[in-house]
């Protein structure tokens, strides 16, 4: 049990994705002490797992890494990874927060990334967290680990300890900024999209990982089921989104995300046909609409307006049938695809639900932070405030940091 003190007007930022990182950095530059909490072992959130970002087509990793490094090295930012907020209460001075840190078995500050633990492990439990993790370090998947201790013996720097226990941390902070981001919603309640019926039906984040240049396939596009090159890939938009049964809202980022993925598929293998089944193609940022035109003309991607009624593998298992109505030609069609990418099922992250106090920010009916309810100012940024891409999340983050700064100034 530890208590932090000697801090100047500390702020807690929950979530270490792009929004959380920028909010933390801005406040630290303003002289505030910032506690940045993330449940993952590394900062970066969902963006760290992306291969490429739109509309620049750059890798996600380099610019993100620069900002992660700035935050990690900032003397006023205290980073709590593998940590969760378990309780928050508010009093006259601010918030009292309980954070539980479950330290990873491999101490990242000692890991030299030699990989001896990976070679030793018979369970496949040791792996890098994701392709572009910074700082590079291995992690042990506790679900797979048999706790045999072989890795402990081979580690040259004594970085591994399988018996680390949870640490509870009590913080008193002036303000809390919620930046818990999004996760992919479970699609099992919408069986017509065929999630889980075939290995080649995957969500867009799974597909991103599957085709990543730094990932398992080194950027080549293959089918999961047999390793063959797919003839065609269908990208299905608004899966679970703009759908009253699941997520009524538009997830805002998925149109561009699908355009980006289709484009990268075509760049890496022009022989693969890509089809995007969309409802509205929402390309509202700088260069976004032009990006979709580039798709149309240069990469020859097929656009079909329609949402499938059924996605199901053929009995032979070698292809996936999609039944849909093309609403612009008013024709009902059934088409065969080798791979299907489901896009849109992004919902706010449940990380916040761990805290069961009444001072959790109130959520609106769609799961987003309601900053205006009950007259108490709340601060949120990124996808848990409103579906947002990188640029929008970062803008919201700086805006939230400004609001916290002003509140502090007004109280003086």
């Amino acid at each position: 049990m530890m208590v932090q003190n000697n801090e100047k007007n500390p702020v807690l930022v929950v979530g270490g994705g792009v929004a959380g990182i920028i909010a933390a950095f801005d406040l630290a530059e303003m002289g505030r002490t910032v506690h940045l909490v993330d449940s993952a072992p590394l900062l970066g959130g969902q963006v760290a797992k992306l291969d490429k970002i739109y509309p620049t087509d750059h890798c996600a990793f380099c610019p993100l890494w620069t900002d992660i490094k700035k935050v990690q090295e900032h003397h006023r930012v205290i980073v709590h990874t593998t940590s969760k907020v378990t309780d928050i209460t508010q009093d006259a001075d601010g918030y009292n927060v309980v954070i539980v840190c479950d330290p990873p078995a491999i101490d990242e500050s000692l890991c030299i990334f030699c990989g001896r633990c990976v070679d030793t492990c018979t369970k496949g439990a040791v792996r890098p967290l994701w392709a572009h993790a910074y700082p590079p370090a291995y992690f042990i998947d506790r679900q797979l680990c048999a706790e045999c201790g072989d890795c402990v013996d081979v580690c040259p720097t004594e970085a591994i300890n399988l018996n680390r226990t949870e640490v509870e941390l009590f913080l008193a902070v002036d303000e809390v900024i919620w930046a818990t981001g999004f996760k992919e919603a479970d699609l099992s309640t919408l069986p017509e999209f065929g999630m889980g019926t075939h290995p080649d039906v995957m969500t867009s984040l799974e597909f991103e990982e599957w085709i990543a240049e730094a990932g398992v396939n080194k950027g080549t596009i293959t089918r999961k089921v047999n390793g063959a090159v797919p003839k065609n890939i269908a990208f299905i938009q608004c899966v679970g989104a703009r759908d009253q049964r699941m997520l009524p809202y538009c997830s805002a980022v998925c149109c561009m995300h699908a355009l980006k993925q289709a484009q990268w598929v075509k760049r890496r293998n022009p022989l693969i046909d890509c089809t995007i089944l969309y409802t509205d193609l929402r390309t509202v940022g700088r260069g976004y609409n032009e990006y979709s035109l580039r798709e149309l003309h240069e990469s020859a991607i097929t656009f079909i307006r329609g949402r499938p009624g059924l996605i199901h593998p053929l009995p032979t298992g070698d292809a996936i049938a999609i039944k849909y109505e093309n609403t612009l030609t008013q024709t009902r069609e059934i088409a065969k695809f080798d791979m299907v990418v489901l896009n849109g099922n992004l919902q706010t992250s449940p990380a916040r639900k761990a805290a069961d106090s009444q001072h959790i920010p109130p959520l609106n009916g769609e799961g987003f932070v309601d900053t205006m309810q009950d007259e108490i100012p709340r601060y949120a940024c990124g996808f848990n405030l409103e579906p947002a891409d990188i640029a929008e999340s970062v803008i919201q983050a700086s805006s939230a940091a400004m609001k916290v700064t002003i509140k502090e100034e007004l109280q003086k």
């Binding site: 030699c114 609403t327 970062v394 803008i395 700064t405 100034e409």
Partner: protein
């Protein structure tokens, strides 16, 4: 002079198993610049770091060459650890002999050892010839100039003033408010635009830290981050300001639909802004209204989507419907752009109110029917596949926002980039309100078309970045590095040999070089503004006689590195 100590890291056998470090060390014995070479277990663990730093502090050695892993692995921590212990960054050089040598040549130990020797030799060449830029420190003025008093500019100005910073707001128009003065109500809450504007106007009145310069025109901008020198006229008055940072919130203007959909030719075919004007004057009575989207947008000339036209039309369609519930209100669109939770919810709400949506196709735009007055709109409904004729007594053309004419001038004055349409460009999506000039920030529709809500958010974000810059009263040129610890100083001119050709000035993307008259010299001489220089090296590559140099990567060091590589 033998003043370099070489540390060879075994990395617990990761390096030593392939590269024969003893051979490498023996080879270094002949090198006159090497005072000693040591083989250590693991440099990145604190114990060895401390020893290294101690030796440097005690004067045992001046410079260190570290042959270990790449900077992305743990090399950076070694360097950082040494800097933290008081070693100058330019006295340290890191050579990667793990990832790029021992690991990828694991099957060829002799080759790997040879490569490691050459890599280390190159590193020594660098350390022997490296020079250090002189850093410069400037005072950061605790003032910000905000260009434009629309929602973005007002949000930025009031945020800054509330956090104790003096703000100068310059506005072309006679009154602050920008586009908020022209529209009557705001989506999605259907609140009055004036109620959004008033708190800001109150703050302008009340807060002594804010000065507004109406009818302003920028005359000149000089200076650099932390200390800009600005001359402007406001009405008949002249002002000189010296803000530490500049926020551009100059907004955008609405495209007039001249020549499109018979605008100006048939009565009651109006633009969205004309409808707003009618609303501000009172109720607009209509029985059959049609909104046409993407007028002059997402087309050949303007391939972009202007973001705000779909929600603006939907807002006004709902209002017409509310004022006359039996009216037929149609929105003819290509894709309905209502991303996110709030806008999509608003779209559903308005649809439920009875506003009807017709999807058309880009190649089959709707047609206005009528001789003097609009009588109907004929449209191909893409979803039913049939052409319909809709009775209409009002057609509203929804046009995009286009950049202001003076964006180019502001960009030239400040050394900024515009995108292909003329909006201000950010440096990178991760830094969306920052520009390539430190201390100049962009927000609102000057950056990219946005609604007033988003403009306010962006104004606050830009204010945050400016406030963070101003939070330090003093800043060194080396502080403005986007990659921590990676700034390679700045370009240096040899005044004796500079011929004043101006090549460097022409290629500098950061407007950091000026030609200056020097006493006792016939020609002008280049002068580098260290606060603006980002050490890109463009000037070095065009300098005809090697006068312009990057001290940390000067031609001696780079040339010698290349020579020793082969």
């Amino acid at each position: 002079m033998a003043d370099i100590t070489v540390y060879l890291c075994k990395c617990f056998g990761e390096i030593a198993a392939t590269v024969d470090l003893e051979i490498v060390r023996a080879g270094l014995g002949d090198n006159p610049s090497v005072s000693s070479a040591e083989i250590v277990d693991s440099l990145c663990l604190n114990r060895d770091l401390e020893t290294m730093a101690h030796q440097i502090r005690e004067g045992v050695t001046q410079k260190v060459l570290i042959a270990a892993c790449s900077s992305l692995a743990r090399g950076d921590r070694i360097v950082r650890g040494l800097v933290h212990r008081g070693v100058r960054r330019t006295d340290i050089h890191l050579v990667d002999i793990r990832e790029g040598c021992a690991w990828i040549h694991a099957g060829d130990p002799d080759g790997a050892t040879g490569k490691a020797e050459r890599l280390i030799d190159m590193g020594l060449a660098h350390l022997e010839n490296v020079q250090t830029s002189d850093d410069v420190s400037v005072k950061i003025n605790n003032e910000v100039m905000v260009i434009g008093a629309g929602p973005a500019g007002l949000a930025a100005a009031t945020s800054l003033a509330r956090s104790g910073i003096t703000v100068h707001v310059i506005e072309r128009a006679p009154h602050p408010g920008g586009m908020l003065r022209l529209v009557s109500r705001l989506y999605p809450k259907d609140s009055a635009a004036s109620s959004r504007l008033e708190p800001y106007l109150d703050e302008l009145e009340r807060n002594p830290l804010i000065t507004v310069y109406p009818r302003a025109k920028l005359q000149s901008i000089r200076g650099y981050t932390g200390n800009y020198k600005i001359r402007l006229s406001s009405g008949d008055d002249e002002h000189n300001l010296s803000p530490g940072a500049v926020i551009i919130a100059s907004g955008a203007k609405v495209l007039l639909p001249d020549g499109l959909f018979r605008y100006g030719e048939v009565a009651n075919v109006i633009s969205q802004m004309e409808l707003e004007t009618r609303f501000r004057k009172g109720a607009v009575a209509t029985k059959n209204a049609v909104f046409i989207q993407c007028v002059g947008a997402r087309c050949q000339d303007r391939p972009y989507c202007s973001t705000i036209c779909c929600p603006a039309s939907i807002k006004n369609a709902a209002r017409l419907k509310a004022e006359n519930p039996v009216a037929n209100v149609f929105v003819i669109h290509r894709d309905i752009m209502m991303p996110g939770s709030v806008l999509e919810g608003y779209y559903r709400h308005v649809m439920a109110q009875g506003v009807r949506f017709i999807r058309c196709e880009k190649d089959r735009p709707p047609e206005i029917i009528g001789t003097d007055r609009i009588e109907a709109v004929s449209v191909y409904d893409a979803v039913t596949g049939s052409t319909r004729t809709i009775d209409a007594d009002l057609a509203v053309l929804s046009t995009p926002l286009i950049p202001n004419d003076d964006n180019r001038r502001i960009a030239e004055l400040l050394g900024l980039q515009l995108d292909r349409y003329g909006f201000f460009r950010e440096i990178y999506p991760m830094h969306p309100v920052e520009t390539r000039m430190d201390g100049v920030f962009i927000c609102g529709s000057a950056r990219w078309p946005v609604s007033s809500d988003v403009a306010i958010t962006q104004g606050e974000a830009a204010a945050m970045k400016a406030a963070a810059l101003l939070a330090r009263s003093q800043a060194a040129a080396s502080d403005f590095s986007r990659v921590p610890g990676r700034k390679f100083g700045h370009a240096r001119v040899n005044v004796e040999t500079c011929s004043g050709c101006g090549n460097c000035m022409a290629v500098c993307p950061f407007d950091a070089i000026r030609l200056q008259k020097v006493e006792g010299k016939y020609s002008h001489v280049s002068r580098v503004n260290k606060m603006r220089c980002k050490a890109c090296g463009n000037c070095v590559s065009v300098c005809p006689n090697g006068t312009m140099q990057m001290p940390e990567h000067n031609y001696l060091s780079v040339g010698e590195m290349i020579r020793r590589a082969f």
